[in-house]
Symmetry: C2
Subunit: 139 residues, 2 copies
Amino acid sequence: MLRYSEIKNILKSHKLSVTVVRVDVLEFFIRENRALSFKDLEDEFKDSDRVTLYRTLNSFTDNGVLHKIPDDSGFATYGLCHDTCSSEDHNHDHMHFKCNKCGTIECLNLHIPPVKVPGYQVTEANLILKGICNNCAAA
Amino acid sequence: MLRYSEIKNILKSHKLSVTVVRVDVLEFFIRENRALSFKDLEDEFKDSDRVTLYRTLNSFTDNGVLHKIPDDSGFATYGLCHDTCSSEDHNHDHMHFKCNKCGTIECLNLHIPPVKVPGYQVTEANLILKGICNNCAAA
DNA sequence: TATCAAATTGCAACAAAATTGCATTTATTA
DNA sequence: TAATAAATGCAATTTTGTTGCAATTTGATA
Ligand SMILES: [Mn+2]
Ligand SMILES: [Mn+2]
Ligand SMILES: [Zn+2]
Ligand SMILES: [Zn+2]
């Protein structure tokens, strides 16, 4: 659990003004320690306005607080960026994992090795693994 | 360009009845040789009913004719499965490429090397590369 | 701390995307 | 060809996401 002062610093360092909703949402992401969907936010912040939550996700993504994780479900999920991300430079060369049992999507601390494809200029790679997560495997 | 008889066989071998819409859509996928979105179908088949197109994509995906390709745009795209895919066994260990210039998404004939993550049971991997595609790089 | 411009929020309306129910048509099998 | 099952087309509905705008909050400055 992060202090308010630290949450505030994260927002400021990403050039975002500090508002109640933003602090709450960011704190939620840090506390949950997993990728979250819009629906997750809606469930958690029942009295917040939908539009504000959408806009929060968007400004967080624009400013390098969150990154979108590709998914074939049709629902984007968002994961916390590394400290170094900004609106200028998003950098996400880590793998993601989606559990087929509990549905959780997480950022893995594993680097995606560079891939070369003849004739193509590859500038970005997204690797999404699926299977049974740590928790579900142990249970 | 595939013959009607061949298209028909693909449908039959995937336990799908042969209808006008299904033949047209499958032929379109084969002809285009790239991943297609719902919008692509809607544009191509202007007089077809949207609902039928949605249902076609779903039954194709259920029965192993198409596979969904994860994307962070919010719009699913679909690629042709290998002959061996069925409703029982979808198998897609190949990479995908999305071009940032022309927007085309394609299935690459490149196998994703197996990834091991300690404590996790990995059963599937999706690798989506981005950059400049073959065509756009040449132009 | 008081003031003020700029940004964010909440609400309503709107637009887009996807789903459902059902009557009609089409395909498959016998 | 007839009977059965499945797919289609249409209308209505739901879900998801966006836009405009007035009210509120924030951050900077005096
Ligand atoms: Mn991540
Ligand atoms: Mn593919
Ligand atoms: Zn799990
Ligand atoms: Zn291209």
